[in-house]
């Protein structure tokens, strides 16, 4: 067992018990994510990709099995502690960008730092720096509705990485983008991975995402069917 592992899932099972029939989204999945990974969890709709990502991101707790983040068992944490863990250790990129509509790009990126209690001057500096790094400095003062989908998703990436999280989880990040825009977004994330060692875990069924992953986990019916390393 690697002591450097960022997150480790052990035989996790997730059953959604909301409808008339319980749905078993995950059936005993184990995996470890280590620093510097650029990993894609692939699989058809309903295979459990998002569920697995939510468990790795401390957004949800497994029905059975355990998830350890930096060695800490997430099931022992309260909601509040899990929120704090997400705030400081995990960045999220969502399919629908999900920027805060009333805030500019810069303020959206700053928001995470605001929640962390970073002083205003410093958070402004750091947020601008990240936007510049990602080549979207000129968007700083635009609101989400003034930006294209690709631009919004870049801002979302900036928001995810601004506080230097241990892990960035991206749930179908290219699903709403055309392939050229999606490719540029992936370039950006690959660059962050290579130059700054940001650890990415994607869930996707987009072939171009799957193609770029250096580690690929194929999920089918809630189980890891196949794993490839490239």
């Amino acid at each position: 067992m690697n002591p450097n592992a960022i997150v480790r899932a052990e035989q996790v099972t997730k059953i959604y018990d909301e409808g008339a029939v319980p749905v078993q989204a995950l059936r005993g999945v184990s995996l470890t994510i280590e620093p510097g990974e650029f990993t894609v969890i692939a699989g058809p709709s309903g295979s459990g990709k998002t569920t697995l990502l939510n468990l790795l991101g401390a957004l949800d707790v497994p029905t059975e099995g355990r998830v350890f983040f930096e060695g800490q068992d997430l099931s022992t944490l309260s909601r509040r502690e899990r929120a704090r863990l997400r705030l400081y250790k995990i960045g999220f990129v969502f399919q629908a960008y999900n920027l805060i509509p009333v805030l500019t790009a810069l303020e959206n990126v700053e928001f995470v730092l605001l929640l962390q209690g970073v002083p205003e001057r410093e958070r402004r500096r750091r947020a601008l720096e990240v936007l510049e790094q990602l080549g979207i400095g000129e968007l700083a003062h635009k609101r989400p509705h003034e930006m294209s989908g690709g631009q919004q998703q870049r801002v979302a990436v900036a928001r995810a990485v601004v506080s230097h999280p241990r892990l960035v989880l991206a749930d179908e990040p290219t699903a709403n983008l055309d392939s050229a825009t999606g490719a540029r977004l992936l370039d950006l994330m690959e660059q962050l991975n290579r130059t700054q060692g940001v650890t990415f875990v994607f869930s996707s069924h987009d072939p171009q995402v799957i193609e770029r992953g250096r580690r690929l986990l194929r999920l089918h019916d809630g189980r890891i069917e196949r794993e490839e390393r490239r």
Binding site: T50, N54, G57, L59, D60, R79, R80, A83, R84, L85, R86, L87, Y88, I90, G91, F92, F94, Q95, A96, N98, I100, P101, V102, L103, F111, V112, L114, L115, G117, P119, E120, R159, D171
Partner: protein, 412 residues
């Protein structure tokens, strides 16, 4: 969370308010109207009850009274004190005292050729009395008392009852300290009409020397010194000082001691305003809950995202309740800004309620009401209305923080 963080959240909350401009403006205007009505109603109500009390005090009672010990409990004619003029001068020398009037008081009977009625006969020094009370300004016919002469001032209502007019004679009768009945004929020289119907039916003023002569009292006797102060709030302090300075044979009372019911009534009226605050508050809170709940429900996915990126429940709660608090504060500010010019106008010109003056007269209030702004009104509006707005956000905010990030993200 640091103050910096709160201001950052407040900025976000402020912008969120204007996402649905129309809804915010509707809620805001209800707060504005609420504050506007509250401020004017509260200041007018306070003005009215203060006026009511002040009228009673300026009508007859004054701010402080001095009697022989025991007179207040048993206002018998034999409970007079001597050296009234010397005492008057001593009291008048106190810095906060504006005027002092000596009085001889006795219950008696006033008879005309046609009718009679029980009255409170008040022997006054006309000059001094006109400085303490405003009876001299309440005349509707005739003139004020001269210092000497068998003259009497009565209320218009009493005149009607006795069926007398200016210049007519009336006979006053009252028990003397020696057990005899004193009586004297007076000529009606003036009729008064005050804000108090009761006063106009029962009070009769005669020159103090005539009263002493009629009752067989020594020439330096009096039953009461009525004291008017520059400021009614100095009454307690003066009472304490005079009690120490004057002989034990005298009692010093403030208006609170003399008319406790009137003071209680004033305080009760002021308290009743809180009922009005409650009504307005309840009306406002449902509008606020409704608007905030709509605002929250349509943003649940967004709250899910905020929770996902690590916003704590406490901060999310703060964000939502800040939105409501900001509406409350802004609405209060605008409501105040709108009500102040109206207040200023009314404070200058008064609100003329002549239509209701009969009813108001029964309460001892004039027909023109002047609003009165106190710190309490300012405090009430600035504290209660934003608090109501904040309370209205509690349930919506509770809904917001109970969003599951996973659910919310699935919904987007």
């Amino acid at each position: 969370m640091s103050f910096r963080g709160v201001t950052g959240l407040a900025r976000v909350a402020w912008r969120n308010l204007w996402r649905n401009r129309r809804r915010t403006l509707i809620v805001l205007s209800s707060v504005v109207v609420g504050v506007f009505v509250l401020v004017l109603f509260d200041t007018l109500n306070l003005g009215m009850v203060e006026q009511m009390l002040d009228n009673q005090l300026r009508l007859h009672i004054g701010h402080v009274q001095i009697h022989r010990q025991g007179y207040h409990a048993n206002p018998a004619v034999e409970h007079f004190f001597r050296k009234a003029e010397a005492l008057r001068q001593q009291v008048a020398a106190e810095p906060e005292v504006r005027a002092v009037a000596p009085r001889v008081l006795v219950h008696g009977l006033l008879s005309s050729a046609y009718n009679n009625g029980g009255v409170q006969l008040v022997g006054v020094a006309p000059e001094a009395e006109s400085l303490v009370t405003f009876i001299a300004e309440q005349l509707v016919a005739g003139r004020y008392l001269a210092a000497e002469g068998p003259e009497i001032l009565i209320g218009e209502r009493l005149a009607r009852k006795l069926e007398v007019r200016l210049g007519d004679r009336v006979v006053a009768m009252a028990a003397r300290p020696d057990g005899q009945i004193g009586s004297e004929v007076f000529r009606v020289v003036g009729l008064f009409r005050t804000v108090s119907a009761d006063f106009d039916r029962t009070m009769a003023f005669i020159p103090i020397d005539r009263a002493r002569a009629m009752l067989g009292l020594p020439p330096d006797a009096a039953h009461e010194l009525a004291v008017l102060l520059d400021d009614v709030r100095q009454a307690d302090a003066l009472k304490t000082r005079l009690q120490a300075a004057l002989p034990d044979t005298l009692e010093v009372l403030t208006y609170r001691d003399v008319v406790p019911l009137l003071v209680m009534q004033r305080d009760l009226y002021a308290e009743m305003m809180y009922l009005f605050y409650l009504i307005i508050g309840v009306a406002l809170i449902f509008g606020i809950i409704n608007a905030m709940l709509m605002a929250v429900m349509e943003r649940l996915p967004e709250f899910g995202v905020l929770r996902a990126i690590g916003m704590s429940e406490g901060r999310l709660f703060l964000l939502v309740s800040l939105e409501s608090l900001l509406i409350g504060l802004l609405g209060t500010a605008i409501g105040w800004a709108l009500s102040l010019p109206v207040y200023a106008y009314l404070a200058r010109h008064g609100l003329d309620l002549a239509v209701f003056s009969e009813a108001l007269a029964a309460f001892g209030v004039g027909s023109v009401i002047y609003p009165r702004l106190t710190f309490r009104v300012v405090w009430n509006a600035w504290l209660i209305i934003p608090l109501v707005a904040w309370l209205g956000a509690l349930y919506p905010a509770w809904r917001a923080i109970h969003v599951e990030p996973v659910e919310a993200m699935r919904a987007v």
